[in-house]
């Protein structure tokens, strides 16, 4: 069986995201074909579908630096994207995957992507729910959208990455702290350039990704372009999405997503938590846990942070317990209660408005 290999090169964010919708909707209408697409972006700050620009982005900085603000059709959090990252996307039918379980589908695609990235000389792994990481540091974020039986699943691969630019363009709790913010951010993301010391040629990266996806799905890829139906949809959708109305369709005040921090001293060390919560949905949006502490495996902290993203505040205690029960050997003198305590204290600080 043959799938299309589509390389759309470097485009503006509105163009790339209008293509997401055009290709997905055409696939669902039976006008498209199963596709692996490679894409790149001019500097952009991309919101998840349900996010608000006011809450997630430093809009003034983006404006001053010509960073295009756009809204994805896929879920997840805001990301900074420029020419140094490679986007990869799959368009395919749910039925061809043999399962309708969305978590299982995401895992299968991410595990294949992680194998491909590993072939480039780093040890990449899938981390639930949607990251691919190397030694606990994110190298690829992913997300999906569906329309009937058709799926779009997309990821970024950080080939080169300007962490400082990301921190300036996005609102990330803790990242703007003068003393440790940037280094904390650097501890959480990485890039092929940083890990390998060189930037691998783009063609080689694309070849590896295509070969691994081809093997995973038992297909071969044929290079191709957009068909007429997709082109027609694209022109129409670009007009709809390349405007403020699309970007601002979810507009919520920043005050709804306050930040807070807390410190907890215990026999295992000193823990610090920086959180951002969503008052409206009663949810922890993001947490960073740092501090002077002894754990057997440093990646325990980023893994825990990933497991607590977008979790209801009422569920946090049990979630921390369950996660740490699997990693108890890494904890040494720390206890799950230490983590629960510092995270909940930071949440209380955020709720009280003195973050």
């Amino acid at each position: 069986m043959s799938w299309r290999l589509l390389d759309t090169g470097i485009l503006r964010a509105a163009e790339n995201l209008a293509l997401n919708r055009a290709l997905l909707e055409a696939h669902q209408a039976g006008e498209g074909v199963d596709t692996l697409r490679f894409l790149r972006f001019r500097p952009s700050a991309l919101l998840g579908f349900h996010q608000s620009a006011e809450q997630e982005l430093e809009l003034e900085f983006c404006r001053q630096h010509g960073i295009e603000v756009q809204r994805r059709i896929t879920g997840g959090g805001a990301i900074y994207f420029d020419e140094g990252q490679l986007g990869w996307e799959l368009y395919l039918g749910r039925r061809s995957l043999g399962t309708a379980d969305m978590g299982a589908i995401a895992q299968r695609i991410c595990e294949a992507a992680a194998r491909a990235i590993s072939q480039l000389g780093v040890e990449a792994r899938f981390r639930p729910r949607n990251d691919i990481e190397v030694a606990g540091r994110k190298i690829s974020g992913t997300g999906g959208a569906f329309e009937g039986e058709s799926l779009l699943y997309q990821g970024t691969l950080l080939v080169e990455f300007d962490v400082e630019r990301m921190v300036q363009a996005l609102k990330i709790p803790g990242a703007k702290l003068a003393d440790k913010g940037l280094s904390s951010a650097r501890e959480r993301v990485t890039s092929l350039q940083e890990l390998l010391g060189v930037v691998p040629p783009l063609a080689a990266i694309q070849q590896v990704l295509a070969a691994v996806f081809a093997a995973e799905f038992g297909v071969e890829f044929q290079p191709g372009g957009l068909n007429a139906a997709e082109q027609g949809r694209y022109t129409q959708l670009l007009a709809e999405m390349d405007c403020d109305e699309w970007v601002q369709q979810v507009a919520r005040p920043f005050a709804e997503v306050p930040t807070g921090s807390a410190l907890h001293r215990c026999p295992g060390g000193t823990l610090r938590a920086e959180v951002r919560i969503d008052r409206r949905r009663g949810m922890l949006k993001q947490v960073w846990i740092t501090g002077d502490l002894f754990v057997r495996d440093r990646r325990l902290l980023p893994d825990l942070e990933a497991a607590l993203k977008e979790v209801a505040i009422s569920e946090l205690g049990p979630r921390i317990e369950v996660f740490l029960a699997q990693r108890s050997a890494d904890l040494l003198a720390l206890t799950p209660a230490d983590f629960t305590q510092v995270v909940m204290a930071a949440i209380q600080a955020a709720e009280a408005g003195h973050g």
Partner: protein, 145 residues
């Protein structure tokens, strides 16, 4: 109360099996719409919900709300056409209600139907719905709720 492979499927509701949604005619004639427990199980915990605005018209089998789970975003397809009469503020505040209580507190929109009698014919209910969900679960390779 009916169940298929551990997923609660109330026999008195009307379903569009393919879109995995239910409809219930209320005493005032409005149609309450939601995702099935099976749809919630496939999606995982829902973390965001954006309904069409009150007053907007929706078409049968077109989107009446958008939901997000595990970074997947997709539409929920309306089982009937009509105008959106109400959206669920409790679900905006706690989207996981869609998973926890899909047929009561976790409803998605109420629709003032354009033509319930004609469109309800495309929906299935009772034992017929149970059998069709069993078939869908087979096709989806689904183990159970």
């Amino acid at each position: 109360m009916g169940a298929v492979r551990g997923c609660e499927i109330p026999e008195d509701l009307y379903y569009n099996i393919e879109n995995n949604v239910w409809a219930r005619q209320e005493a005032d004639g409005t149609i309450t719409v939601g995702m099935t427990s099976y749809a919630g199980s496939l999606a995982g915990t829902i973390v965001a919900y954006t309904p069409k605005k009150v007053g907007k018209d929706v078409k049968q089998d077109k989107s009446c709300a958008t939901v997000e789970s595990g970074k997947w975003v997709g539409p929920v397809k309306a089982p009937v056409s009509g105008d959106v009469a109400a959206v669920n503020d409790a679900v905006i505040a706690k989207p996981a209600l869609i998973n926890e209580d899909p047929y009561q507190q976790g409803w998605l929109v109420k629709i003032k139907p354009a033509n319930w009698d004609a469109e309800a014919g495309a929906l299935v209910t009772g034992g017929d719905a149970m059998a069709k969900f069993e078939e869908k679960m087979n096709a989806d390779g689904f183990g159970g709720c």
